[in-house]
């Protein structure tokens, strides 16, 4: 099937076939990243604007890098330097960017639904780089890409997502992708951060770390934000770590071949033991590298490229 989607807003709306196409395209691009000349002319002459209205380092740099590897011109803008601080609406900011001749816009925004809103306004492709607690589709794609590299098919695999699920767009995007890929997803953490309403998304909800981690093939940790503690979601980081932090003993409950993932930024010693983060089961830095290949694939496909023409794009 040819790629027809212009925007990437959610993984909820992607079909399994579309996820497979992105992963296949990313595989091809990843080969390029290993060469001495890491650049292809696929998007030469195109201009990509990264509109990051919420702070980000990793995602923004990865989108930057991905666009440059595809030979696109890139302009990155953050909230503090944009006119939004002067009261300009998102509609006006985005329409100005389109009028300046951008060919594609990547948006990170604290308000859920903003990328969908822009996709209805603009005539250029919109890529969601994280909207509030809603979705972070390229993260979900790179995470599942990384899992597939290590585990092959994800059908029937047990994937555990551990931590602050309520506020996590990474968790939501992973849940949608993993469900489509046939994995069994368990979300685990304190009951305030892992509400029972998540069951409706097709996952198992648990507050018992031992049974959740038992025989898991993947454990994905999420960053615990300090501000959740001040808003009364749990008593202290110390108590969180003692109940839900991943340490060596608890890692022993996993399937021996299990991988440990984290979208970053890591709080060493809080959600994960420092040693485990750097250990041989950790694939955290691979996730970062794969993030470039996956974002290259997304930028390429949403700009009108087709999966099978990647080779010729080289």
């Amino acid at each position: 099937m040819p790629w027809t989607r212009r925007h990437l807003i959610t993984l909820e709306e992607l079909s399994l076939d579309e996820i497979n196409q992105i992963h296949a395209t990313a595989t091809a691009f990843k080969k390029i990243l290993g060469r001495s000349v890491k650049k292809v002319p696929a998007l030469r002459g195109k201009t990509i604007v990264n509109l990051f209205l919420e702070p980000s380092t990793r995602t923004r740099m990865a989108f930057d890098m991905a666009a440059k590897r595809l030979s696109a011109d890139v302009i990155s803008m953050d909230g503090s330097s944009s006119s939004t601080t002067k009261g300009e609406t998102l509609r006006d900011t985005a329409q100005n960017i389109e009028a300046l001749g951008a060919d594609l816009i990547v948006i990170r925004h604290a308000a859920a639904g903003s990328p969908l809103y822009l996709s209805k306004i603009l005539g250029i492709p919109v890529i969601n780089a994280g909207d509030g607690a809603h979705e972070h589709p390229t993260q979900g794609l790179l995470d599942t890409f990384t899992m597939r590299e290590h585990l092959g098919s994800l059908k029937g695999r047990k994937v555990v997502i551990l931590g602050d699920i309520l506020f996590s767009r990474v968790a939501r995007s992973n849940i949608h992708a993993l469900n489509k890929l046939g994995a069994n997803v368990t979300v685990v953490g304190p009951s305030t951060l892992v509400p029972h309403t998540l069951k409706a998304m097709g996952v198992t909800v648990s507050h018992d770390l031992r049974s959740a981690l038992a025989d898991a093939d993947v454990v994905m940790l999420l960053r615990i934000q300090h501000e959740r503690q001040s808003s009364g979601m749990f008593p202290s980081l110390g108590e969180y770590t003692s109940l839900f932090g991943l340490n060596k003993t608890r890692a022993g409950w996993l399937n021996p071949k299990a991988i440990i993932m984290h979208p970053g930024p890591i709080n060493r010693g809080v959600e994960i033991d420092s040693e485990l983060a750097d250990g041989e089961r950790s694939v955290i830095l691979e996730q970062v590298t794969n993030g470039i290949a996956v974002r290259m694939a997304v930028l390429y496909l949403c700009s009108g490229g087709q999966p099978e023409s990647v080779v010729s794009a080289e």
Binding site: T89, H109, A111, S114, Y117, A133, L166, T197, A200
Partner: protein
């Protein structure tokens, strides 16, 4: 003013338990039993064959944004929207700019009503100074200036002590308190119902419990003080149950439901459309059904629209940042007919009662009846006509309606206030 002869209507007057085809006669702004042969000859005759004639509709919950937010709505445009929706009496909320917490502001509102309103518009005043929930507003002065109830609508009074004193004090003037039931500590940053849908959409939810707690608080305070507390726009199943038990004990509480809470659920928010964002939020199917049942057994006394205009550019924002509220006046009747009469088999006279006599009685308004001698306020509507609702072509200054572009069934044809035709076949006269 010519006398009016409305002929061959299905006349529904819940106060008189009347539901029969017949005529209505109006002379000098009042209903009369009949007109003389000479008067009939001179009277303006309205052939109402196939139409329902009922008391002019009464809405005790509207926002006309005057003074201070007249880019959204004015008393003039709001009253026209009301007339187009069949309403002849409405009650304005005091969350204007400045808020209506002084006799001077009430007088300013009343002056504008006298100058510009085409229907009867009644002001309310604030419970607390500045609607800040910290000190009692000059409730006695507000009463003398002409408010018919007090409310901090939109900003529920959080202090139980202050609410208790407001109840005691307002009771001295026989003024009802109307409360928007929301515990603020549980709804910080919340933009929709808390539940499965908010979890999926990643939006901050406001739980039913935040409403239920204040409804229960108000039941306790109404019991303790004997003051009449009216609970605005009930949205939660548990709140209906709390009110049901309170009413069985004879506690002086009343409650309203909105057309949108009986018609829609939070499932409508899937595309982050801000035309479905209001406060209290759309809730679940379970809540929606409970509210309909609350209306059926009288736990919820009345329908009220919470007509809340906002401009296109204010609503055209990220969901988190868009203001709460939707229009209601021009769609209330067709939506109520659709949900209550056609889908839930309520009797038409009962639904009309929810929109006329009952709300009028709650606030002691001289309205809601076709009785001889009463002010001749009439709504004539075709219960079956299907029509395309274009919010942009409506009479409100704003167009923020979730029903924009939809075909609705049931259409107001003529609205009469004090014997004067103010709206007729799509036009304000």
């Amino acid at each position: 003013m010519p006398s009016l002869w409305i002929s061959n209507a299905r006349v529904i007057d819940p106060a008189a338990k009347r539901d029969s085809v017949g005529d209505l006669f109006i002379k000098d702004g009042k209903f009369v039993a009949s007109l003389s042969a000479a008067e009939l000859k001179k009277a303006k005759k309205i052939d109402a064959k196939g139409l329902v004639a009922c008391p002019g509709l009464v809405d005790i919950h509207v926002h006309f944004r005057e003074p201070g937010q007249m880019h959204k709505e004015t008393i003039e445009t709001g009253s026209r929207a009301a007339a187009a929706g069949g309403f002849t009496s409405v009650v304005c909320m005091p969350n204007t700019a400045p808020v209506a917490d002084t006799a001077g502001t009430i007088q300013q509102i009343k002056d504008s009503i006298a100058r510009t309103a085409c229907i009867k518009v009644y002001p309310t005043g604030c419970i607390t100074v500045g609607m800040k929930g910290q000190a009692l507003a000059p409730i006695g002065s507000l009463k003398r200036a002409g408010v018919i109830a007090i409310t901090d609508d939109g900003d529920c009074v959080q202090s139980n002590e202050l609410m208790r004193r407001a109840c005691e004090y307002a009771k001295m003037f026989d003024l009802p308190l109307m409360d928007h039931c929301q515990d603020h500590s549980m709804t910080v940053g919340a933009v929709m119902n808390e539940g499965v849908v908010s979890t999926r959409l990643g939006l901050k939810g406001w739980p039913n419990a935040a409403e239920d707690i204040i409804v229960a608080r108000n039941v306790v305070l109404a019991t303790y003080t004997g003051a009449h507390i009216h609970m605005q726009h009930i949205s939660s199943k548990n709140s209906v149950e709390i009110l049901r038990r309170a009413k069985a004990r004879g506690v002086p509480v009343s409650a309203e439901a909105t057309p949108h809470h009986i018609a829609l659920t939070d499932e409508a928010l899937g595309t982050y459309d801000t035309h479905f964002k209001m406060n209290p939020p759309l809730r679940t199917e379970e809540d929606r059904v409970a509210i309909i049942e609350g209306l059926r057994d009288g736990t919820l006394d009345i329908l009220a629209t919470d007509h809340a205009p906002h401009t296109d550019y204010e609503k055209d924002k990220e969901f988190d940042y868009a203001p709460n509220g939707i229009l209601g006046l021009e769609t209330a009747l067709p939506i109520s007919l659709e949900i209550l009469v056609r889908k839930n088999k309520f009797k038409l006279p009962y639904v009309i009662d929810l929109l006329t006599r009952k709300p009028a009685n709650l606030l002691k308004l001289e309205a809601g009846t076709l009785a001889v001698g009463a002010p001749a306020d009439v709504c004539l509507f075709d219960p079956d006509e299907k029509w395309l609702y274009d919010a942009k072509a409506g009479f409100s200054k704003s167009s923020n309606s979730p029903w924009h572009g939809q075909t609705l069934q049931g259409r107001v044809k003529t609205t009469i206030v004090d014997g004067k035709v103010v709206f007729n076949h799509g036009k304000i006269s």
